[in-house]
Point group: C2
DNA sequence: CCTAATTTTTAGTCTAGTCTAAAAATAGTA
DNA sequence: TACTATTTTTAGACTAGACTAAAAATTAGG
């Protein structure tokens, strides 16, 4: 069994490895966990001792297969609980992350199995992020950022890059959610803003918004 | 906010106060939490500092209204989660306690409100124990031990005193659960055993079994 | 290629929560 | 009451996990 702190470190490294596609720096972990670099050095050394990460001084850290398995399991639990909170308890998608941060550490394999079944074995969480299966494999979709979509093309919203409550609430206000059909009406190359069509409405969104929304375009 | 350890101490004191109807000794807490008495002294002093318990050296500890409120909330969460696990995830009633020990520490008032609603605001957990309401009040029923029921009387099973997995599985095997109608057919005064009728069957149970089952007799 | 800025690690300290061993207080009994 | 057994508290030590400050290594720019 692993401690809460260990699980959080492994999860952070998991996400950072995915983001940077490689070795993870001490500072990157520190920033993600809002901790000091010295604390991170301490912990990765302990994790290396337990063969959960491989770590070379000054070079960086990455997960071993064992560490990756544990991290993926925590992510699986996090996302399953988020589905539970939204689908069963009627939370809004911007309200669930903090609670899932706690629930992801509940230890019981049987619980995950039953929760998964209860939820109908969902493949994506409320933010469109894929839920790893029991083996830790994730289904990777060929999504892209809305900002990269060409004029006149249409895509289906499949996820968000950042999921701050502020951002998610903005999307709610604009009636954009997972599954929404979004058409790029025109793009302003000066500031990266674009006019999009969602349902019956057309409106303008800023570059920042478009850079944080994933869509799937066929 | 309170730490996991603090919540566990408060909950233990809450249960012990109820059991002994008064001041709780350091040793009693130590035994319940499987900790050493010296650790308990340490913690109750800290809790007293925070006005969650009142404590007098060598005399004992009891909850302040504030401490009682927190403890009741933890118990409420524990029992609501047990209902969730049994009613929604189809766990058996002997499998849920350990998981609820973890879930009871999840911090989110909104979560409790929604979970309670989702479950239909249950008043009792799967073991027949009352679920405190938001204010921490519990509905106290006039239940009694099956061992104290007179010959030829009939009662409805409303709870168990001990809820070890072994005991609960024994009851399952005998098809005794919350809501079962139990009639005392005859009592053997030599060893305290009794013959009871449950549904279509009559069989003998030992004194130990009868002393751990609560029934309501009108 | 050398120096300066940045990153990372080490050394030392702190808190929460636990323990053991010893001391102190209380309770039980002759 | 006096002695003993039990309970409780204190003193001191330990671990996990965090931090600050300083040292060491790496990277970047001229
Ligand atoms: Mn999340
Ligand atoms: Mn998510
Ligand atoms: Mn329980
Ligand atoms: Mn219970």
């Amino acid at each position: 069994m692993f401690t809460l702190a260990e699980e959080n470190y492994l999860k952070a490294i998991y996400h950072l490895e995915f983001k940077f596609q490689g070795e993870v720096s001490t500072n990157a972990i520190a920033e993600k966990l809002e901790a000091k670099a010295s604390s991170v050095t301490d912990m990765v050394q302990k994790l290396a001792e337990k063969s959960l990460v491989s770590y070379t001084k000054y070079k960086g850290t990455h997960l071993t297969p064992e560490g990756r398995k544990i991290a993926a399991k925590v992510v699986r639990k996090h996302r399953l609980w988020e589905v539970f909170l939204v689908d069963k308890l009627d939370f809004q998608w911007d309200e669930v992350h903090e609670i899932a941060e706690q629930l992801e550490h509940i230890k019981s394999d049987e619980l995950i199995v039953r929760l998964d079944k209860f939820l109908g074995s969902p493949k994506f969480d409320p933010h469109g992020d894929p839920i790893p299966d029991q083996q830790g494999n994730i289904k990777n979709t060929k999504k892209r950022l809305l900002a990269e979509v060409e004029n006149k093309q249409r895509g289906i919203c499949v996820g968000v890059k950042e999921s701050s409550a502020d951002y998610l609430r903005y999307l709610d206000k604009k009636k954009i959610g997972i599954g929404s059909e979004i058409t790029v009406v025109s793009k302003e190359y000066f500031d990266g803003s674009m006019i999009i069509e969602v349902g019956p409405k057309q409106f303008s969104i800023s570059k920042k918004i478009a850079e944080n929304l994933y869509v799937q375009v066929n």
